[in-house]
Amino acid sequence: MKNIRWMFPVISAALIFGCQAKNGPQNAVRLVTTTSVRDTGLLDVLSDAFQKDGKYTLKAVAVGSGQAMQLGKTGEADILWVHSPDDEKQFVEEGYGTDRTTFMYNDFVILGPAQDPAKVKGVKKAADAFKKIAAAKAPFISRGDKSGTHKKELRIWDAAKVKPAADKYIEAGQGMAATLTLADEKNAYALVDRSTYLSMKSKIGLVIVSEGDDALLNRYSLILVNPAKFPKVNAAGARAFFDFVLSKPAKEMVEKFGQDKYGKQLFFYDYAAK
C-alpha cells in the first residue's frame, strides 16, 4: 500500500515531464493573436499544419490586438498576428516589431436585433448606422478591450461624431465570441467581424443590419517581434511561422477555410504567397 502511494507522484511527474520534453523550450514559438482568429477556428487549422513536422511547438495565445501588442512591447511574444493597423504602424515605428506584412482580410458587419428598433437596416455607411443607434438610444455592446475590433468601432464613432448614452453602451471587456454571445443575450447592436458572426450564426438571434462600407474592411497582419530589442525572442521560430503563413499551402488553407461548414469563404488572402 505504501509503495503505491509513492508510485503515483513518480508516474505523474514522469508524464508531465514527458509532455514538457515534447514542448522543448527551444522549439516553442509564442504566437499572440486575436480572439476572432481563434474563435472562428482558423487558428487551429494553421496551428496544426505548422506543427505537423514536429520541428516547432506553437504556443498560440489569443487575446485582443491591444494586449497582443502590449505582450510584444515586453518581448513576451515572438510573433504577432493582429488586425489594428494604426497601433501596428506605431508598434513598428517605435522599433518593437519588424517585417509587418498585411496578408489577409475580411470585413466587419453591424449586427442588431431582428426587429431593428434603431431602423439601421438599409443604411450604407457605418458611421450613419452608428448615428441612428445613438439617436434611438438602443443598447450597444462594445469589445471594450483595446482590440482591433474595439479600435475600429471607436473610429466609426469618431466619424459619426456621436456617442451613445452611457447606460446604453456596454463594454464587455472580452473576446469576439464572448462579446457576441453577450450582445445576443441582451438583444443589442454590436460590431462583429463577419467570420466570427458566420461561425456563430446558428447559435444567435442577431442579424446583419449594415454591411459593405469600406470603413468596415478588416485587414490582418503578421509582425515579427524585434529580436534586437528582446534577445529572448525565438527569432528563428517566429520566422518559420511567418514564412509558413505566407506560403502557398497556408494561402490555400485560409481561402478554403469555412467553405464546407458555412458555405462561404470566411477570410480572404491578398498577399502574393510563394
Partner: protein
C-alpha cells in the same frame, strides 16, 4: 428549459462518444492537479505539523500568515506567478509560462497554505504532552512528528481532499499562467469557460459534468480510505 435539457443530453452523448479532445483535456486536468496536490502535501503536512508543535518567537504571526494563505485569491496567485515566470521576470529561465509546469506551480502555491493550515490545526488537537512523551522515549524530532501524524491521519486526509478540491476546480490562475492553449494547457475549467463564451453549451456541459464526476470519484476514493482507517481506529 428545453434548451438546457437538450444541452445536457448532448453533453452526456459527447462524454460517451469518447471524444478525443474532451478526454485529453480531462487527462491534463487530472495530471496537473494531482501532481500539484502531491507536492503540496509533501510540503504542507510536515510544515503544518512542525508549526503546530514547535515553540518559536513569531509563532502567532506565522499561524496568521498560514491562515491568510488559505484565503488567498487564486487569480492573484496566477497573476503573480505569470509575472515571475514571464521573460522579464526573475524566474524566466524556467520557461514555464504557458506550460503545464507553470500551472502546477500556481496550483502548488494555492494548495500548500490550505494543506498546511489544516494539518496545523489537526496537529494542535493532539495533546502536547503526547509529543513530548515520544521525545522522552528517545525519538528524534522527525520521528516524533511522524508518529503524531499517524494519530491524526484522518484529519490529514481531510487536508489532502481540501487541497485537491481547491485546485481541480480553479480557473483564473491556470488561465493566466497556462494561456488555455489547445492540446497544451487547456484543462476542464478553462475549456468550459471558452466553450460557454462561444455558445457551445453542449460541450461546456459535457466538460462541466466530467469535472464534477472526476472530483466526486477522487473524493470518494479518498473518503473511502479515510473512513476505512476510521473504522479500523474505532475497532481498536
Amino acid at each position: 428549459m428545453e434548451f438546457i435539457v437538450s444541452g445536457f443530453q448532448k453533453g452526456i452523448a459527447l462524454i460517451f462518444s469518447g471524444n478525443a479532445e474532451v478526454y485529453a483535456i480531462a487527462r491534463l486536468s487530472l495530471l496537473v492537479s494531482m501532481f500539484a496536490t502531491v507536492i503540496s502535501v509533501l510540503i504542507g503536512v510536515p510544515l503544518g505539523a512542525l508549526i503546530a508543535v514547535k515553540k518559536f518567537p513569531s509563532k502567532k504571526i506565522v499561524i496568521s500568515l498560514v491562515n491568510t494563505g488559505m484565503g488567498l485569491p487564486p487569480v492573484v496567485v496566477g497573476l503573480l506567478v505569470m509575472l515571475f515566470l514571464s521573460r522579464s521576470g526573475p524566474l524566466s529561465f524556467l520557461e514555464w509560462l504557458y506550460t503545464p509546469m507553470g500551472m502546477v506551480l500556481a496550483q502548488v502555491i494555492i494548495a500548500t497554505p490550505v494543506i498546511t493550515g489544516l494539518s496545523m490545526s489537526a496537529m494542535q488537537s493532539i495533546d502536547p504532552k503526547f509529543y513530548r512523551q515520544i521525545l522522552t522515549l528517545g525519538a528524534g524530532e522527525w520521528q516524533a512528528l511522524a508518529v503524531c501524524l499517524k494519530e491524526i491521519k484522518l484529519s490529514v486526509l481531510a487536508a489532502v481532499i481540501a487541497g485537491f478540491g481547491s485546485v481541480i476546480s480553479e480557473v483564473g490562475a491556470v488561465m493566466i499562467v497556462g494561456g488555455n492553449i489547445r492540446s497544451q494547457t487547456r484543462v476542464l475549467t478553462t475549456a468550459t469557460v471558452l466553450q460557454t463564451q462561444m455558445g457551445n453549451y453542449d460541450m461546456a456541459i459535457a466538460l462541466g459534468l466530467i469535472l464534477i464526476g472526476l472530483t466526486f470519484i477522487i473524493n470518494l476514493a479518498l473518503t473511502f480510505i479515510q473512513q476505512q482507517k476510521a473504522q479500523a481506529y474505532n475497532a481498536k
